[in-house]
Every structure is written in C-alpha cells, then in structure tokens.
C-alpha cells in the first residue's frame, strides 16, 4: 500500500494535481498572500491612501484651463475708443490686467510677472474711425511657455472680436462680414479639463498600484528564502502564479472602485458608462499592470530593484505616452507607434470614454481586445520565467 502511495505519476497524484488539490493549494497560497498584504501597513497605504491622494492632486493641481492669466496693457493711444477697449479687457474673467509703459512691461515679462502684454498702438482710435483701414493692436507673449502663449493669443483675439461686435451693435452698425463661430463641446459642455484629467489619472494610479504591488511579491519570496521551501512542496507553477495575481487583482479592483467613487461623488466628475463595462475594461488593464510587476519581480528577484523598475516602466510611459496629458496624434510618428504597445494608452481612452461619453461599445471592445493581448503577453512571459527549480 505504501508503495502505491509513492508511485510517481499514479492516478491519485494526477487527480490531486488538477482536481481538488489545485483549488486547495491555490486557496491556501492566496490566503497566505492576503494575510501578508493585510498585515503590512504599507500595502494599505499604497492601495487606498495613495490613490485618493493622487486623485486629489491630479484633480486640483493639474489644471489645463487657464483662468485669470496676468497680462500687461500698454496704452499708447489714450483716445476714447482705446479707453473703452481697455475697459472691456479688464472686465474679462480670463485675464487679469496690469497697466504700464512698454518698458515696464518688457521688464515684467522678463521677470515672469506677466505672461505677455497687449499694446494699443498710438493710431488705434484714428484708424478705427476710418472705414477701410485696420486698427492695429500688438500682442507680445512669453514664448518659453508655448502653451500659455497660445492661451494669451487666443484670449486677446477673443476679447478683441467680442469688443468689436459689441461696439458695432452699440453704434447700430452691422457686424463686419465675418463668420460667426459658435463652438459646442460635446460630452463635456463646459470643456472642463478636470473631467478628462481625473479619469486619465485613474490610469496612472492603477498602473502604479498594480505594478508596484506585484513587483514586490515574488522578489520577497526569493529574498526571504521562502521560495525555496515552497518549491520543495507539491505546488505547481500555475498555482504559484495565480496566487500572486488573484489577491492583488481583488485589491487593485477595490482600489479602482474607490477612485471612481471619489471622482464621481466628491469631485463631481460625471460618470456616464456602466459599472459592468468599467469592470471588464479595468480587469484586463489590471492584469497587464499586475503582469508587468510580476514579470519584473520574477526576473530581478530583488524587491528594491523590482519596485524601481516597476515605477519607471509603469509610471513614466503611462504619464507621458498614454495620451493622458500629451495628445498622441501630435507626437512624432515613431512615438505614436510606440504608444500602440502601451496598455495604458487603451485604458486612458476607454476610461475617459466611460466617464464622459458612456458605453461606446465599438471603441471599448477594441481597447479591451488590446488590453487582453497585453495581459496575455506579460502573464505569459512571467509564466515562462517562473522557475520550478533553482537552476532551470
């Protein structure tokens, strides 16, 4: 009877491996993993405190709408028309106007006290009164910050157009024959950048949380010598790998739901998609982030190195190349192709869609498809590198 028990590939062992034994061992390992995580205060910090903190930082600190830009105003013409135009500039909610001479303004731009200045030329009123001649206004901006410079230009132009229109109306004249532009922003009527920054930031948070967690877990086993003891038990590669994924998947999804809740209920970002769709998209994104962390941990076998690598390989590309802040279509072509390899790119579009537009199935399922591919890639590669022996 004893001999039978020891038979290497007897039916009993096979059944043990793929039947009840599989689930039992997987459960035991996952339970162990969860206990370890829950007992480590830093994991609660990473899973719940850090995401909420980040979401507030992204929600408030990164604001792509520029309100009340400081502008200089140089009046070379003191005529009544010029005065009226100046008054209308000062009334704009987007600009904060400081008056001074050209010299003072040049100095102020240099010292970054103003972002640019508008010069109302000396013949402004005169030219304005003569039909057929164009009145001139000069706008000078600080080109070292192109983004702001463009804002300054657009706001000045806008202010000028509005003023001309109102002036014409007041004089009972017809508007100059110009095309009237009436922009309407779909999905985000007020064009509030927070509405797309916050969903985008959830991508960054999930990348960091997912990859950081798993980057530690395999390396920890190697560092503490517990891996060797595990390898000497009947644990299989699949069980080992799954036990490293599932607990952190649950943690990651909880963290995601917390982020979404904070975004919608506290920061009042509208969420127009459905929860099931959110879960589907996030699941596959999370698996690729977890897979990335696990791969690094498996290859490096050192917690410190793996965590560093996970932050760099996860956070930086997700921040720069996912289209979260920088528009992908305005990147150089080579970079655009590279972004196609980033799971974060697909998650950014899908989560922004879910928040602002709703369940746009064609778009979302395309993203899900790519996220599935990348999950399979990272987890597959990790499985390939997961050793069942110390020397293979």
């Amino acid at each position: 009877m004893e001999k039978e028990k020891l038979k290497p590939e007897s039916e009993k062992t096979l059944r043990e491996r793929f039947g009840a034994g599989f689930l039992r061992r997987l459960w035991a390992l996952s339970y162990k993993e969860s206990l370890q995580t829950l007992r480590d205060p830093s994991s609660i910090l990473v899973a719940f405190i850090l995401p909420v903190l980040l979401i507030f930082i992204f929600g408030f600190a990164i604001n792509l709408d520029s309100t009340r830009i400081r502008m200089g105003l140089v009046m070379e013409d003191m005529g009544p028309e010029a005065q009226r135009f100046a008054a209308s500039l000062q009334g704009s909610p987007y600009l904060s106007i400081v008056r001074g001479t050209r010299k003072e303004m040049e100095q102020a731009v240099m010292e970054e006290k103003v972002r640019g200045f508008i010069v109302i030329m000396h013949d402004f009123s005169r030219k304005l009164d003569r039909p057929g001649e164009m009145a001139a206004m000069q706008v000078i901006t600080d080109g070292t910050e192109p983004n702001i410079a463009v804002f300054v230009e657009n706001y000045s132009r806008g202010a000028w157009q509005t003023w001309l229109g109102q002036r014409a109306l007041a004089r009972g004249e017809k508007m100059p024959p110009d095309i009237q532009l009436e922009p309407r922003y779909w999905f985000n009527p007020a064009a509030e950048s927070r509405n797309y920054i916050i969903p985008g930031s959830i991508t960054i948070i999930m990348t960091v949380v997912g990859a950081l967690f798993t980057s530690l877990v395999v390396a920890r086993e190697w560092e503490r010598g517990t891996m060797e003891a595990l390898l000497a038990t009947p644990v299989t590669r699949t069980e080992l790998l799954l036990s490293k994924l599932l607990p952190y998947y649950v943690l990651g999804i909880s963290s995601l739901l917390l982020c979404v809740a904070v975004a919608t209920f506290i920061l009042k970002v509208p969420f127009r998609g459905s929860i099931p769709m959110l879960l589907v998209v996030s699941t596959f994104f999370l698996f690729s982030a977890l897979g990335l962390g696990l791969l690094l941990s498996t290859l490096l076998r050192n917690q410190f190195n793996a965590a560093q690598a996970a932050l760099n390989a996860g956070f930086l590309p997700a921040m720069m190349l996912s289209g979260f802040i920088y528009e992908i279509s305005s990147m150089p072509h080579l970079l655009q192709y590279i972004t196609c390899l980033l799971p974060a790119r697909y998650f950014v579009t899908s989560i922004q869609t879910l928040f602002q537009a709703g369940d746009i199935h064609r778009l979302l399922w395309r993203d899900v498809f790519f996220l599935m591919l990348s999950s399979a890639f990272f987890i597959g590669l990790t499985a390939y590198h997961t050793k069942r022996r110390l020397d293979d």
Binding site: P8, R24, L35, Q36, L230, A232, T233, L390, D391
Partner: protein
C-alpha cells in the same frame, strides 16, 4: 528499529554552475560524488561553507538538476518524478523558509494545505507536531517573533507534515544556541529511530560526531564516507594535551605548531591540545619550554582532528600580521569596562545590570544562548548602541561622551560580511584605512602590508563577495586592524568558516594579543570559547558567570560528569540560572 534501507543513492554526481568570475565557463560545485543515505539513522553531511552541502541537498530535493551522474531518491528521479517525490520528502532550507508575518498556526495550515494533509489526519498531525516541538503555547505568535531555536523547530514541524519518508535538513543548527541545538538534535534522533531517513547538513564538526554516518565534503569533493568513529579512529593515540603549563600558553602553542612532528594545535582552557603527525614521536616538552611540571596526556580524538588529518594539517602557528604590529606595553591596565550596563527596549530589558572589566592583552569572550543579550551588550561596548543606564568605557573614554575618541581605539569586525561588494578588494582597503584616519604615505604603506600579510595580491581587483570564504574573512580582519587599534571587537567572526581557516584566524588573533591588543569576542563555537582568557556567560540579559574556561567547567562539574566539556558547562550553567529565576519568581508570587 526496522531494517535499514538505502533510500538515496548518488552515483558519480557532478554539478556545475556558471563561473561568476569567468564568464562562459562553468565551475564544478560537486565532483563525482558517490554516496548513499539509509533509513533509521542520521546521516551527517559535513563540511565548511562552500563545500557543496546545499547543492547536494538541493539535488536530492529535485530543486537542482545534476550535470552528470544519477540521483535516485526513494527509487525516483528527483527531476522527472518531482511531483511524486515532493509528497514524500520533507525539506528544510538553510534560510528560514517560513513566513515571518504569519503565525505559527497559519504557517502550519499553509503547509498542510500544500501537502494535502486534511481531515482527521490534519488535526492529529498538528497536535502531534506541536507537542513534539513544544510550540503549543505559541500557536498565535508570528513566526518572525520566535527565537532562533523555535523557528527551526517550526521549520522542522512544517517539513514533517504529510509524514515524509526522507527528511532533508540544510544546516538546521545555524544560529541556534547549544541548548536549542541539543533539543533539535534529540527530536531528529527520535524521527530517525522511527524509521525516517534523515540527512542533516552542518558546518559544526562537533555535530558531525553525533551522527550515525557522515559524508564529509570539502571543496566539492567527498573526503570521507563512514561512521565518525572510523574517522576519529585514524587519529587515535595522536591527540595530546600538554598540561600543567607554566608561562604563556599562546606562545607555547606557537612553538608547538612550529615543530615538525606536530600537525595541528589549539588552546583548550589552560591546556594546549595538539595533534601529532602519523608515526611521529611525542614532542620534547623541555624543548617546547612548557615548564618543569608540564606533562603530556593522551585525549580522546574528535571529528575535527580527523578532518584536519585528511586535509593534511593546520596552517601553522606563525602570524605575519602580529609581526607588523607595534607591541603595546602589557601594563595590566583595564581597557574595557562595563559598569551596571543596562539596555531596555520598551518593557524588555535586553541587558540587565552587567558589570565586567577586561585588562590589556586579554581575550574576553561573551557567550550565551540566542536572545540572551550578548549582542546588545557587545554593541554597547563598541559604541553602536547607547546604554539606558550604566557606563561603557573603552581605554578610559566613556562611549556616551567621547564616542569618536573611543572608536579610534577600536577595530570592529561584524558578524555579517560588511564590506562593500561594489568596490574592489583594494578599494575596500583604501576606503577603510581612510575612514580610520590613515592618509598619504602611511596609508599606502599599511594597505600594502595588509595585502602582503593576508596574501590578497591575486584578488586585488576582484569584488569581495567573489572571494573564497577564507579570504573574505582575512579581508574583513584586515579592514578592522589597519589602524592598529588597541582593542578588537569580533562579533561571531568565524561563523561557517572551515576549521583550517578558523585556525589561521585564531593564529592571527593570538599573535595580535601577544602584542598587547585586547580582544572581545562573541561566538557560538565552544572550541573558540576555549581560546579566551576569560568568559562572560550571559543569560536572560544578566551576566551569570565570569571566569576562565576552566573555572566555568569546574562550576558545572557534577558527580556524574566530573570533567564537563565547555558545552556541558554552558548548558548546565544556563539551565541552573533559568531554574533559579523561575524559583525566585514563584517565591515572589
């Protein structure tokens, strides 16, 4: 006892690894090993660190694949039949393989689940193993908070789940104090008697002596296979004590080791123990200047003598290092002084009112079980910890007030290898000499001397952690003595080092001490305690006895055991103290 069965066979097994020093090439960790392991006995896998013990155990456990040769365990191929084999073996790795952030019970649950120990069998196993390991009271305690000995017991309990037929234990005695080691040994002995095959690997040669059979490994080669008695039999009648020595026993040892007929020698308390070459006549005591009353007496050979014999003798008694040092006057001054030293961590008193003095040119050893507070005391004496109360003085400087002045006077060799692995050997020497304030021509000269003395020339550009263990040890010692400190602190300096390297190390220490340097040392090796002039025995934070090694042995002598070994003395004194405190606590109640 059931009939002994061979359950593990190794036939011309070779294991090669990529050579870290020479890319693309391989280096053999095991050379054509042929060996057997039987049920019912403890087979000792004995050898110094780096001998190939762990590699051999991992081959048997199916964690490594042999490059050549065959390994059979329970009639299975450890690689091809790995799933079957893993059910049938219990494996305990060298590093504590359990989860420190899980409790004792949670660790047991995990391993029971992994090994498929379920239902009624599970409860029975838990009960039996917890009782067996006396861990019943600690089931809720986190494994990380167990003492070294209890951790190993828990490791053993986890390895025993599922009733394995073969137990592979990789250095279970490391970091475990003698008392826990004896307990652990007793447990394993019972298991072997019940019919298990037990492989116990160890670098402690005194452990080897207790094994039923021994496989002696050195540098990947099997030097000996048989019972320890057979090995000690080879050196029978060749082991001698020189007793009733007059004068300096360290100098006598040096003279003895320089004699052609003496193969090896060590200090044992007030005696010098020597091993003669095969067929050599006894040394002339008058020539050795051992004193008029000195006499030679045969003593029982130990396993270590046999090992040294196979290796062809010890390193000789000459320390080139000591020659380089300037002699300090042996003025009998007190250079290390602890007065009512106390250290508390929260409610826990790690060191409790410890007082002792060490005079110039003495070797003072701190001995004690794990967690007794010897490391804490040691760290306070070299200024790494600040005492809660009391004073620690080194060459008259209070470490609390003038720590940097005091530190200039002392050299420190840490238990863990504490050199920079990203710096080369030469850069390490330059760095440490610089840190201790050597510069210019003097620094250069000292570094060159150290390279010369310790034979480090071939390794100058190598990273320290690629050096053979013995050389690493030498490098660490070199870094600690370059600034010619008056006092040397050694924290378990020779853990895991082979006996020959250890002898060489002690030759240097003996030489240094002769030059008036004072040495304070902590150790787990009882034979190292014998080198000390005086020993302080620490238990439960208190200094429970001080005296020469022979004083301590006398204190522990009983009618049944008139001539106790150092280990006997250690164990009985610690236990006496534990009973006394227990009694006092009861009386209080």
């Amino acid at each position: 006892m059931s009939a002994q069965k061979v359950v593990i066979t190794l036939d011309k097994v070779v294991k090669e690894f990529p050579d870290p020093a020479d890319k693309g090439k391989t280096k053999a960790a095991l050379h054509e090993i042929t060996a057997k392991v039987r049920t019912g006995v403890i087979t000792g896998l004995v050898g110094p660190d780096g001998a190939g013990k762990t590699t051999m155990i991992r081959l048997m456990g199916g964690l490594l694949e042999a490059t050549k040769g065959t390994v059979r365990v329970l009639d299975m191929d450890p690689i091809k039949d790995s799933s079957g084999l893993r059910q049938a073996i219990g494996y305990m790795p060298q590093k504590f393989g359990l989860y420190e952030d899980l409790s004792v019970q949670e660790n047991l649950n995990l391993y029971a689940d992994l090994r498929g120990v379920l239902g009624k069998e599970r409860e029975e196993s838990f009960g039996r193993l917890l009782e067996f390991t006396s861990l019943q009271r600690f089931t809720d305690r986190r494994a990380g908070r167990l003492s070294g000995g209890m951790k190993q017991k828990l490791g053993l309990a986890c390895a025993l789940l599922g009733q394995p037929k073969v137990l592979l234990l990789d250095e279970p005695g490391v970091g475990v104090d003698p008392i826990s080691r004896r307990e652990l040994w007793k447990m394993v002995e019972d298991l072997a008697k019940s019919g298990l095959a037990v492989l116990w690997s160890t670098a402690y040669l005194d452990e080897a002596e207790l094994c039923d059979e021994v496989l002696l490994l050195n540098e990947g080669k099997l030097l000996f296979d048989g019972s320890p008695k057979e090995l000690t039999g080879r050196v029978k009648e060749r082991c001698m004590h020189i007793r009733n020595i007059e004068g300096n026993r360290r100098q006598l040892l040096t003279r003895a080791l320089n004699r052609p007929e003496v193969m090896d020698g060590v200090i044992q308390g007030r005696n010098v123990r020597i091993l003669l070459k095969e067929g050599a006549k006894k040394p002339d005591l008058a020539e050795l200047e051992a004193g008029p009353k000195a006499e030679l007496a045969s003593v029982t050979p130990h396993f270590e003598d046999g090992f040294i014999d196979i290796l062809g003798g010890g390193p000789g008694g000459h320390s080139v290092l000591a020659e380089q040092l300037e002699a300090l006057p042996l003025d009998g001054a007190v250079v290390i002084e602890a007065e009512h030293l106390t250290k508390k961590f929260g409610d826990f008193t790690a060191t409790d009112d410890v007082t002792f003095k060490v005079t110039r040119g003495e070797i003072f050893g701190l001995l004690g079980p794990n967690g007794a507070g010897k490391s804490t005391t040691f760290k306070m004496m070299c200024g790494l910890l600040t005492p809660t109360s009391g004073t620690a003085k080194v060459t008259g400087y209070d470490l609390k007030r003038s720590a940097s002045k005091a530190r200039q006077q002392l050299g420190y060799m840490a238990q863990k290898f504490s050199l920079y692995s990203t710096l080369s050997v030469r850069q390490n020497l330059n760095f440490f000499s610089g840190v201790y304030g050597l510069y210019g021509a003097k620094q250069k000269k000292t570094v060159e001397e150290m390279i010369d003395v310790f034979g480090l020339k071939p390794f100058l550009e190598a990273a320290p952690d690629t050096l053979p263990l013995g050389y690493r040890q030498r490098l660490a010692l070199a870094c600690a003595v370059m600034h010619e400190p008056a006092i040397l602190f050694l924290d378990e300096p020779t853990s895991g080092v082979d006996p020959v390297t250890r002898r060489e190390f002690w030759t240097h220490i003996n030489g240094i001490v002769e030059k008036g340097v004072t040495v304070m040392v902590t150790t787990h090796f009882m034979d190292e305690a014998e080198y000390c002039d005086r020993i302080g025995l620490v238990s439960q934070g208190q200094l429970i006895a001080t005296g020469t090694p022979d004083d301590l042995k006398e204190m522990a002598a009983t009618k049944e055991n008139e001539d106790p070994t150092m280990e006997d003395a250690f164990i009985s004194l610690v236990q006496q103290h534990a009973e006394k405190t227990k009694g006092a606590a009861k009386a209080k109640e």
